[in-house]
């Protein structure tokens, strides 16, 4: 197997098929993400977009096709999931923080337990991350004491603490109050501008248009249309894309 180089896609998805029992949710999806690229996946509910990014860090397995992250083949039966998950961070719609741990502890747990790093180094990095997501002063707050937007930013910091190469965002603002959506989007935008590779599943069209390098529209388990935001939003050709865009724009 050839070594992965910066010229190769950091995430390569090839003809992926995914079934839940008899129900086929992905019907041959292919897309490539280059290092530093920001990709948004949009589409109606149930179109398979969340399933797709959950496959990228092996939370869901696939029944056909190949997914590679930095050259790590996820369909390899001897896949080292730990090696994969050090590379790929994931943020969920419902934040999924550990409710019995403070913000700092949430961030510090994985580097200490999984990467076996020294507590002092991790603590310092966690403080910097709290600053980065603009939550200084909330270090010792428990998730239940934070607003949705604040929890989601802790969740982003928690993923970043593992120093991943790719960040996956699964509808991370869908459960938030409108007024806190913005603070989370600003955090993601900062990340994107620093060159983090991001794959976002989102319903925030304005945001997708603003930060995405490439937009994919999925419907019914296939990619219907894709392109850079400028052409995607104005020159959509497929009727399904047009209909979807007309409903939300």
């Amino acid at each position: 197997m050839a070594e992965w180089t910066e010229k190769d896609p950091i995430v390569s998805i090839r003809d992926v098929h995914k079934y839940f029992g008899d129900l086929q949710v992905l019907k041959g999806v292919s897309l490539d993400v280059m290092k530093g690229e920001v990709v948004c996946i949009i589409g109606p509910s149930g179109s398979g977009k969340s399933t797709l990014i959950r496959c990228v860090n092996a939370l869901n397995d696939i029944q056909g096709g190949v997914i590679k992250v930095r050259g790590i083949d996820l369909t390899d039966p001897k896949l080292d999931k730990l090696a994969l998950r050090k590379r790929v961070g994931m943020v969920f719609q419902q934040y999924n923080l550990f409710p019995h741990k403070t913000a700092m502890e949430n961030i510090m747990m994985a580097p200490m337990l999984v990467l076996k790093e020294q507590e002092e180094d991790v603590r310092q990095r966690a403080r910097e991350l709290m600053k980065k997501v603009r939550l200084e002063g909330k270090e010792d707050a428990y998730p239940g004491e934070l607003s949705g937007g604040q929890q989601q930013r802790v969740a982003i910091a928690r993923s970043l603490a593992m120093s991943p190469d790719v960040m996956l965002f699964d509808e991370v603002t869908a459960a938030l109050d409108p007024e806190t959506v913005k603070e989370v989007l600003v955090t993601i935008k900062d990340l994107a501008q620093e060159g983090m590779t991001c794959i976002l599943v989102t319903h925030e069209m304005g945001f997708a248009r603003e930060i995405a390098d490439h937009i994919y529209f999925t419907d019914n388990g296939v990619i219907v249309e894709h392109g850079p935001p400028a052409t995607f939003f104005h020159e959509a050709k497929d009727p399904r894309t047009k209909e979807f865009l007309s409903q939300i724009l």
């Binding site: 939370l59 999924n96 550990f98 409710p99 994985a110 239940g144 969740a155 593992m162």
Partner: protein, 250 residues
Amino acid sequence: MEFIAEFFRQIADDYPRWNFIWMYQPVQQGKILSGIWMTIKLSLACLALSMVIGVLGAFAQGSRNVILRSIVQGYIQFFRNTPPYVQLLFFYFALGQFTPTFSPDGWLEVPIISNVGWAIISLSFFAGAFNVEIFRAGIEAVPESTREAAESLGFSRSQSYRYVVLPLALRVSLPALNNNLVNLVKTTTQAFGIAVPELLYQSVTIWNDYPSALYPTMLLVFIVYVVLVGILVMSMSKWESSMRIPGYGS
């Protein structure tokens, strides 16, 4: 202290049904105290062992191994659906026959597991069966998504159990666990059936010897259990509040 003994001796003289014999006769007092001590030891041992059984059983129930899961399921069905008193007799009289013996003096043959040992084993397995179910319910109450978050951060299954699932499950389980442990402490009286010298056993020997001491001794047994269970409940609720998470589940 002599005047207290004198006071109760006087009561026994004046009211023949109220002979608080263990307040003035050292031998009976010794029986009561050693009975209380045995009840405490029995309870603590069973509490600890039954919780260990509960955690291990709940972990085994989550295993992918079908055989392991059905063994745990069979264990729960057996111990939950049969009377603890019958279990106790079965352990002591049936299984006790097959355990090896040793001879401390060359004459006596003493089984390596004493009646106290069998009482601890039997009662722990009885309460443990309920604890497995209680912990399993607690584990199932931890959202799948929380476990997924741990998994996506690279936690192994045992790390995710130890640092995320169990601490949360325990908090959910505590009220039900509380009930079961209270029952366990009270069920230790059934060890009487295999002559474990706990409080009820000692009390019965006293009121068999001194029928005039029946009422006072029964009263004492009630009071001791009210106090023991009270202490347990208080420490459980202390534990519960020490684990309360700000902003969670309220």
